[in-house]
């Protein structure tokens, strides 16, 4: 397959940046989007040009490193998949593909398609931890948690922190990310000691970082590669209200 790429190129965080068009040829329909970029970068290197910088690590949808806005959609067309899991067969032959970095004030662009997501780390530092000493790994059947609760906590814990929720949200809100982390720990016994302070601190840090407000558009849920439900946002709102009035 052949494609015309329109890729955001930006030298560093102070550069203004611009779109540059490239042609890539003979791409396998089974190649992932990142593999297609690899092919482009080999060609750019051969020509003596600077390769396109993009984040990647596991390339199997579990690390949360990759993340590109592709044709106006976070992680590209389709649902429930990260950029590394997106195959080129999702596009038409000779299609023009627009690739740009996540756009949000708390995600400054470092270079090309790479953004600084340390604002997420600072939110985690603010409260995304437990202080309970849990010891070694206990027997699965020795943990007193019902199956439905364990499932809900696991669904929230599936968040890989890629930032697609922020990128997809018209308000650049980080509510789905923070809600997933708050829900995951609030549902489990290990998370109880900091239950109240966690939600207050994480929300305060989220606001301090300059993320937008949630207006319940639910674009985040639709673009989340781990399909995390917005019911986690409702749960975090309950946690927050209870923490404030108690």
């Amino acid at each position: 397959m052949n494609f015309k790429l329109k890729i955001w190129r930006q030298k560093n965080s102070t550069d203004k940046g611009r779109f540059v068009e490239y042609l890539v040829k003979n791409i396998s329909p089974d190649a992932s989007f990142l593999e297609m970029l690899d092919v482009l970068n080999v060609e750019l290197t051969r020509r003596g040009e600077e390769p396109v910088a993009f984040d990647h690590d596991c390339r199997e949808g579990i690390c949360g490193s990759c993340g590109i806005m592709i044709n106006g959609r976070a992680h590209g067309p389709g649902h429930g998949a990260a950029t590394c899991e997106l195959r080129m067969r999702a596009f038409q032959d000779n299609e023009t593909i627009v690739a740009e970095p996540w756009r949000a004030k708390p995600f400054p662009v470092l270079r090309d398609l790479v953004v600084d997501r340390s604002s997420f780390d600072r939110i985690m530092v603010a409260g995304g931890y437990i202080s309970a000493k849990t010891g070694g790994v206990p027997d699965g059947n020795a943990i007193p948690i019902s199956k439905p609760i364990a499932d809900q906590a696991m669904d929230a814990a599936a968040c890989i922190g890629c930032g697609a929720c922020v990128a997809a949200c018209p308000n650049s809100s980080a509510m789905l990310f923070v809600a997933a982390k708050v829900s995951h720990l609030a549902l489990l016994p290990q998370g109880q000691p900091e239950r109240k302070s966690r939600v207050e601190r994480m929300v305060a840090q989220m606001d301090a970082e300059g993320f937008g407000n949630c207006s319940n558009n639910y674009a985040c849920e639709a673009e989340c590669p781990k399909e995390i439900s917005v019911s986690n946002i409702a749960r975090m709102n309950t946690e927050y209200i209870l923490a404030k009035i108690r």
């Binding site: 959609r73 627009v98 407000n213 207006s215 319940n216 917005v230 946002i233 749960r235 309950t238």
Partner: protein, 212 residues
């Protein structure tokens, strides 16, 4: 936003219930009594203050949230297909809200001010009849109520999400109540200008007869 929004929704239900008296075929006698009650009752006068405060709070906080959200993305996307994943009603709350605010200024200026503040020569019923005889006025009301429907289609369920009351197993009941608020109530309101323009126009008796 959620609490004031829901409070304004309860007001809409009450306002429509009262206004349905306009359809009573007694030349406006019952409606006049109802209008008189609203103006003179001290409880209503107190709630009125809460109501105005809620409208202002809701509008102002909506504006602040909108402004903050714009600032959160200083560089816009070249291509952004938000429409693939979200409903039109969710994307246009600022627009629908602004038109509703403009509508409220006109609405209060047309009915609330003459009936409650400056005093009117004609009664409430005849004022309604007079105002809705204008095609422009009635048309604007229908348009504003259409936008109100869109506003509430997003807003009603959104308020429950904000309060953490969604996704708890009673979402189907909630969406049934939401349907009443976003569809039935605005439709009920819109039927008033339509009814008056076509069937109770101040000088339009001949027109009505001609139409039928």
């Amino acid at each position: 936003m959620s609490l004031t929004g829901l409070f304004l929704c309860t007001f809409l239900a009450e306002h429509l219930a009262g206004n349905l008296l306009l359809f009573v075929n007694d030349g406006g006698e019952m409606y006049e009594k109802y209008s008189e009650f609203l103006v003179s009752n001290p409880v209503i006068r107190t709630i009125e203050i809460v109501l105005f405060a809620s409208i202002i709070w809701h509008a102002l906080s909506g504006f602040v949230v909108w402004l903050q959200n714009r600032r959160a993305r200083p560089v816009k996307y070249e291509e952004y297909r938000l429409g693939d994943n979200t409903e039109l009603a969710s994307r246009m709350t600022m627009l629908s809200g602004s038109v509703i605010f403009f509508f409220l200024v006109i609405h209060l200026g047309s009915f609330f001010v003459p009936l409650r503040v400056t005093g009117s020569d004609v009664g409430a019923y005849h004022l309604v009849q007079e105002k809705f005889s204008s095609l422009w006025f009635s048309g604007f009301y229908v348009l504003a109520l259409l936008l109100l429907a869109y506003h509430l289609r997003h807003g009603f369920q959104s308020a429950f999400q904000t309060l953490g009351l969604r996704g708890k197993g009673y979402d189907s009941i909630l969406s049934a109540i939401a349907f009443i608020f976003w569809f039935v109530i605005p439709l009920g309101f819109a039927s008033i200008p339509v009814y008056f323009y076509f069937f109770r126009r101040a000088s339009g008796a001949a027109f009505t007869l001609g139409l039928l």
